[in-house]
C-alpha cells in the first residue's frame, strides 16, 4: 500500500485522474465507480511497473557473454509459486466484491424513483415524461440535430427502455453506466443526477441568446447552449451526453442526445409547458421533425443525408426504385402529395426513392393523425411553391426558429458543453 503511495507521489494522483476521466462522475454511483477504476489503475500500474522493472533488470544483468553458459539456478520454487498464486487471488476476490456491490447499486432502483419511458430507434432517442409529454428542446452534436432531455437534479429517476427496431445501448459516460435496449423487451436503469454546478445558466432573454450566437459565430464556432425558455430563464444546467453504444447500423455514430440536468422545481415548471396542443401544424411538424428522429436522415436544406431531403420534396418529380415515377404536377397536387407522404411515413418500404436504401423505420403506430398531418404540412411548407397557410401563427420555413437551421450545421461544431 505504501508502495502505491510512493508511486502516487511520483506522479500526481490528480493528473492521472484528469487523464482517465474527462470529468467527475455526475452521480454518486459514478463517483464510486471512478474510485474503483482509479484504484484498479494504480493496482495495474504497480504490478506492471514491478514486472517490467524485474524483466529489464534481468535482461540487462544476464546478457549473454561469449563462451559462458547460464549458471545452474532453481527451475522451480514451490513456496514462491504458491505465493504468487495466492496473493493475487486475494486481491482479485476483493476487486470482484468492490465491483459487484456498486454494480448492484446501479441496477436496483430506489422505490421512490420516478419512472420515465425511453425509446430508441434507428437512429434517435425519445423520452416520454410522466405527464405524457415529450421534450421540445434540441441542440447540435457534430452536424446532427439531437434532442435535449431535461432531467430534475437530485431526484431518483428510473428509465424503462425499449427499442423500436434493433438492439441499441443507452450510454451516459458521465453516469458511468450503460444498459442495452432491446426490441420487444424492457430493460431499466436509474440515476440520481447531481445538481448543476451553476457554471452554466439558461439565458434570461432572447437578446442574450442572440448576442451569444453572434459572439460564437464571430469565433467561427456555433452556439449550442439552450434557447431562451421562459420557464427556465436564469436556471443553472449541466449537460451530459447520451450515446448509443451498441452498433445499430448506418447512423449509429450520430445516435446521440443530451441529458440536461436542471433544478427540480425548474424542471417541474418546464415540463408543464411543453405540451404540443398550442402549436400550429407547421410548428408541430417542425417539432416532430426533430423529435421523431426525421432529422437524422432527412435534411430541410437540400443537403445530402441518408434519406431524400425535404426541401422542395413537395413539387419535385420522384423516381422510385420499383420503376414507378411521379411527375412534378402530381407531386404538386396537395391531396396526391399528402397520400404519398402519409404512405412513405407509415410504410416507407413501399416506395423507395431511387438512389436511397430501404433504411427507414416504419412509423405506423408511432404517430397519431394530428402529428401525421402536421409533418406533411411542414414538408409541404418546404416545397417548391408551398400552399397558402390556413392556420394562423405559423412560421415560414426559413424562420429564425432554432430548430429550422440546425440540420445545416457546420461539419465540426463544438460539443454542447
Amino acid at each position: 500500500m505504501n508502495m502505491l503511495l510512493t508511486i502516487a507521489n511520483i506522479f500526481s494522483l490528480d493528473w492521472w485522474h484528469k487523464a482517465w476521466l474527462r470529468s467527475d462522475g455526475a452521480t454518486d454511483l459514478a463517483r464510486s465507480t471512478d474510485e474503483t477504476g482509479m484504484f484498479l489503475w494504480w493496482f495495474c500500474a504497480f504490478w506492471f511497473v514491478f514486472l517490467m522493472a524485474l524483466m529489464f533488470t534481468f535482461v540487462a544483468r544476464y546478457r549473454r557473454k561469449k563462451g559462458q553458459i547460464a549458471p545452474r539456478s532453481p527451475s522451480h520454487n514451490t513456496p514462491l509459486e504458491i505465493a504468487w498464486t495466492v496473493i493475487p487471488t486475494l486481491f482479485l476476490v476483493w476487486i470482484f466484491f468492490k465491483g459487484f456491490w456498486s454494480y448492484m447499486d446501479k441496477m436496483v432502483a430506489p422505490g421512490d424513483a420516478v419512472m420515465m419511458d425511453m425509446r430508441a430507434w434507428k437512429w434517435s432517442w425519445g423520452l416520454t415524461y410522466p405527464n405524457g409529454s415529450e421534450t421540445n428542446a434540441f441542440t447540435v452534436i457534430g452536424a446532427r440535430q439531437v434532442p435535449v432531455f431535461y432531467i430534475p437534479a437530485e431526484v431518483n429517476i428510473k428509465l424503462r427502455l425499449e427499442s423500436q427496431d434493433v438492439m441499441h445501448s443507452f450510454y451516459v459516460p458521465d453516469f458511468r453506466t450503460k444498459i442495452d435496449v432491446f426490441p420487444n423487451r424492457y430493460t431499466t436503469t436509474w440515476f440520481r443526477a447531481k445538481a448543476p454546478s451553476g457554471a452554466k445558466v439558461h439565458p434570461r432573454s432572447i437578446a442574450e441568446v442572440e448576442s451569444a450566437k453572434a459572439s460564437a459565430a464571430s469565433k467561427g464556432g456555433r452556439y449550442t447552449g439552450p434557447e431562451y425558455i421562459e420557464t427556465l430563464a436564469g436556471e443553472p444546467y449541466e449537460d451530459h451526453w447520451i450515446f448509443c453504444a451498441e452498433y445499430c447500423g448506418d447512423e449509429h455514430s450520430e445516435m446521440a442526445a443530451i441529458l440536461r440536468v436542471v433544478p427540480a422545481p425548474a424542471f417541474d415548471r418546464w415540463v408543464e409547458t411543453i405540451g404540443t396542443g398550442s402549436l400550429s401544424p407547421i410548428e408541430l411538424g417542425k417539432l416532430l421533425y426533430a423529435r421523431k428522429g426525421c432529422s437524422q436522415c432527412h435534411t430541410v436544406d437540400g443537403s445530402a443525408s441518408t434519406g431524400p431531403t425535404w426541401k422542395h420534396a413537395f413539387g419535385t418529380a420522384r423516381q422510385f426504385t420499383n420503376g414507378e415515377s411521379y411527375s412534378a404536377e402530381q407531386m404538386s397536387d396537395v391531396a396526391f402529395f399528402s397520400n404519398y407522404a402519409r404512405e412513405s411515413i407509415l410504410t416507407p418500404s413501399v416506395k423507395i426513392v431511387s438512389g436511397f436504401g430501404n433504411q427507414m423505420t416504419p412509423y405506423a403506430g408511432q404517430l397519431n393523425d394530428r402529428e401525421l398531418n402536421a409533418l406533411i404540412a411542414y414538408i409541404m411548407s418546404l416545397g417548391v411553391n408551398p400552399p397558402p397557410v390556413t392556420t394562423e401563427g405559423d412560421a415560414p420555413a426559413d424562420s429564425s426558429n432554432p430548430n429550422a437551421g440546425d440540420s445545416q450545421g457546420a461539419p465540426a461544431a463544438p460539443q454542447p458543453q
Binding site: S75, D117, R119, E162, Q164, N184, R185, Y186, T188, A364
Partner: protein, 234 residues
C-alpha cells in the same frame, strides 16, 4: 522438472509412451451378434416403455384428473433416453471395450454441453430476479417493424386475419358465412388432436379471446407491462 530416462531396450515399439495402456488390444474387440441383439431388444423395450409412460401420464391427467407435477413427464422421458443412449454408446459404439480415452473425451464433451446449457439458462431464466419488468416475454411481431406483412401485429394475429381474409374471398365478402366456416373448421381441428391421442380432447379455446402482451409499443400506454391491454389489433 524431474526427468525419467527412457530405456530403449525395454522400449515397446507399439506403445512408445505407455499411454494407451490396454487400449492397443482393446481396440480390436469383436462384439458377437448375441450381445448386439440383446442390446437391440433392450433399446426397443425402452422405446415402448417411454412412449407408454408418456401416454399413461396423459391418461392419468385426463381421466383421473390427477395433475402430475410438470417435471415428472420430463424426468421420466429424459432418464429413459439417457439409459438408451448409454446402451448405444457402450455396446454399439463399443465404448465399454474401447480405449478409455474415448470415454473420457465424451465425458468432457458432456461437461462442456452442461456448462453451455447451465450458464445460458442461468441468464435467460433469471432476468426478473431483480427487476420484474425485464422478464417481459418476447412477442413475435411485437413491435412489428421487422416482420414482413404483419404490420404491427403478432404473427398469429396476422395469420388469423390472413386466413379470415381467405374465407371472406371464398364467400365473396359474406362475413357471416365466413365466420360460420371459420367455426366449422375450428371444430374439425380439435378431433384431429383426439385422433392423435394427445389430450383428452379439451376443445381449443376461442382463438380470439386472449393474446399475450401486444409488444412493447402497445404496452407502453399501460402502467404495468405485465397487464397490458388486450391487443387492439382487431
Amino acid at each position: 522438472m524431474a526427468h525419467s530416462p527412457a530405456n530403449s531396450a525395454a522400449f515397446n515399439e507399439l506403445d512408445p509412451h505407455g499411454f494407451e495402456g490396454h487400449g492397443q488390444h482393446a481396440a480390436h474387440v469383436i462384439i458377437g451378434p448375441f450381445t448386439l441383439r440383446l442390446v437391440l431388444a433392450a433399446l426397443l423395450f425402452f422405446t415402448v416403455l417411454t412412449v407408454g409412460l408418456a401416454q399413461l401420464e396423459v391418461g392419468i391427467q385426463n381421466y383421473f384428473h390427477i395433475v402430475l407435477p410438470w417435471w415428472v413427464n420430463v424426468v421420466v422421458a429424459m432418464s429413459i433416453a439417457t439409459v438408451k443412449a448409454l446402451l448405444v454408446m457402450a455396446y454399439f459404439m463399443q465404448l465399454r471395450y474401447d480405449n478409455p480415452i474415448n470415454t473420457i473425451l465424451m465425458l468432457f464433451t458432456m461437461g462442456a454441453l452442461a456448462l453451455f446449457l447451465f450458464f445460458t439458462g442461468l441468464d435467460l431464466l433469471s432476468r426478473d430476479v431483480i427487476e420484474p419488468q425485464k422478464a417481459g416475454a418476447i412477442v413475435a411481431g411485437g413491435t412489428g417493424k421487422q416482420v414482413v406483412g404483419t404490420g404491427d401485429k403478432p404473427l398469429v394475429v396476422a395469420a388469423r386475419e390472413r386466413f379470415m381474409q381467405k374465407l371472406l374471398d371464398k364467400h365473396n365478402g359474406n362475413v357471416a358465412a365466413a365466420e360460420a366456416e371459420f367455426e366449422m373448421i375450428k371444430a374439425d381441428v380439435s378431433p384431429h388432436h383426439h385422433g392423435h391421442g394427445h389430450d383428452g380432447g379439451h376443445a381449443l379455446p376461442d382463438a380470439n379471446r386472449t393474446f399475450p402482451r401486444f409488444g412493447t409499443s402497445g404496452a407502453l400506454s399501460a402502467d404495468d407491462p405485465h397487464h397490458a391491454p388486450a391487443s387492439t389489433g382487431h
